[in-house]
């Protein structure tokens, strides 16, 4: 993510968070919530996932040591709970992403922004998904269609775009909380915004605000970390 005029890059945010010592668990939880609530696939949190895996491994060893050395099992179970919680977050985070890939495999593959958001393993997974799905559709439907109607992406050769590819619905509505003051946005549409009791020309959030938002205009606010989804 390029930083421009006061916007933070992903690395800068990472450093900042580490500096104010938000724990990795909190960061992982936020990443999970964002990924779960967002209609599109978000940038892969490579560094965070790596750190989480390392900490999980360390803790697994610690728990094993405790068990072997006859530590009070009730206390060991507390460490186990902490471990279970982090593992759940990590697995859920990765799982949600895989499920989005399964849903939108063709679109993700052909859209550079999305393709670049995948981890290496996810990219390989996407490739395999497409290959498997392509093969399956080819066998059951496409090979039996007349010429000019055999594309998996287009209804027929005269389609101007790939009109058979499911894509993420970016005009869906999400609930977001503000972490850092957002840029003022002029929202086109009939009414720009509404609080429960006020109307503004442009829409802006300050830290602490909770809002229902149409996702599309706020994509960048999310990837920059100004807002997070709940």
């Amino acid at each position: 993510m390029a930083s421009s005029g006061g916007e933070w890059s992903a690395e800068q945010i990472d450093d900042y968070e580490a500096l104010i010592s938000t724990t990795d668990v909190e960061l992982l939880k936020k990443a999970w919530r964002n990924e779960k609530a967002s209609p599109e696939i978000l940038p892969f949190e490579e560094a965070l996932v790596k750190r989480a895996k390392e900490q999980i491994q360390l803790m697994e060893e610690t728990v094993d040591d405790f068990e072997e050395s006859g530590h009070d099992p009730l206390i060991v179970s507390l460490y186990q709970m902490d471990l279970d919680r982090v593992q759940f977050l990590l697995r859920s985070y990765l799982r949600v992403r895989l499920q989005k890939i399964e849903k939108f495999m063709f679109y993700i593959w052909k859209t550079d922004t999305y393709r670049n958001r995948l981890s290496i393993e996810e990219e390989k997974f996407t490739e395999r998904c497409i290959r498997d799905m392509g093969k399956h559709l080819e066998e059951t439907v496409l090979s039996k269609m007349p010429d000019n109607y055999q594309s998996v992406l287009k209804q027929s050769v005269i389609s101007e775009e790939d009109d058979m590819v499911p894509e993420p619905q970016l005009d869906t509505f999400v609930v977001a909380k503000c972490e850092r003051t957002t840029r003022p946005l002029y929202l086109d549409g009939s009414r720009q915004s509404a609080g429960f009791d006020s109307r503004d020309d442009h829409f802006q959030m300050v830290p602490g605000d909770l809002c229902i938002l149409r996702y599309r205009p706020f994509q960048e606010e999310l990837t920059s970390g100004n807002i997070s989804l709940v």
Binding site: M59, I75, L78, K103, D163, Q169, F196, L210
Partner: protein, 209 residues
Amino acid sequence: MAGQSDPHISLFSAEEVEFMAEDELIEIVPNLRMDPLNFICGDFGPFLPQIATQVPFWLAVALKKRGKCAIRPPQWMSVENLTQVLERERESQGAFQVLPFHYVEISRLLFDHARDDIPDMYMVRSLIEDIRDVRIHKVETSLEKFSGTSAVKIPNLSAMEVNIIRPFVGRALQAFYKHDNPEKIPDVDRPSSAQTRVANNEPRRPLRR
């Protein structure tokens, strides 16, 4: 949907909401001495008898169950405060009173696992139920305000109310903004008599005629 985390990717199950609530901090009073706990999610303790300290809810409940502490109910959970909140909640039509984001989950956790640590528990529980009802009603009647907008501020809404709103807002407002996409692979609306329809972030692909 009960118990399952991922039927619709974008929705949070009740268990997942509770899971997030369990990270909120609460004060406990240990009744014995314990070594500090150095978790992945943070360091807690040392634990000294009668010296209050803050830990996440999941740990507080676990320690309580293991007989190692009492839990101090949060300040907002007093009969006095809740009575006031309920009154103000009833009086104001459009606004919501300030309560912790996870007030529903937190109170439920305390009722289930630390009943004896809550003074006037039945009164507290009854007040919270009333507050919840008033707020839900308020949320439902405010839903019309959302139509035709791209953004709405919802100050002081709690996790539970957000979860209630989510499907309705998604549906109603999505329809408003549905642009004419070229025909996608039709995903026929699956009628389900028993289950309520929930919002999802899948493309709506209506079948032509």
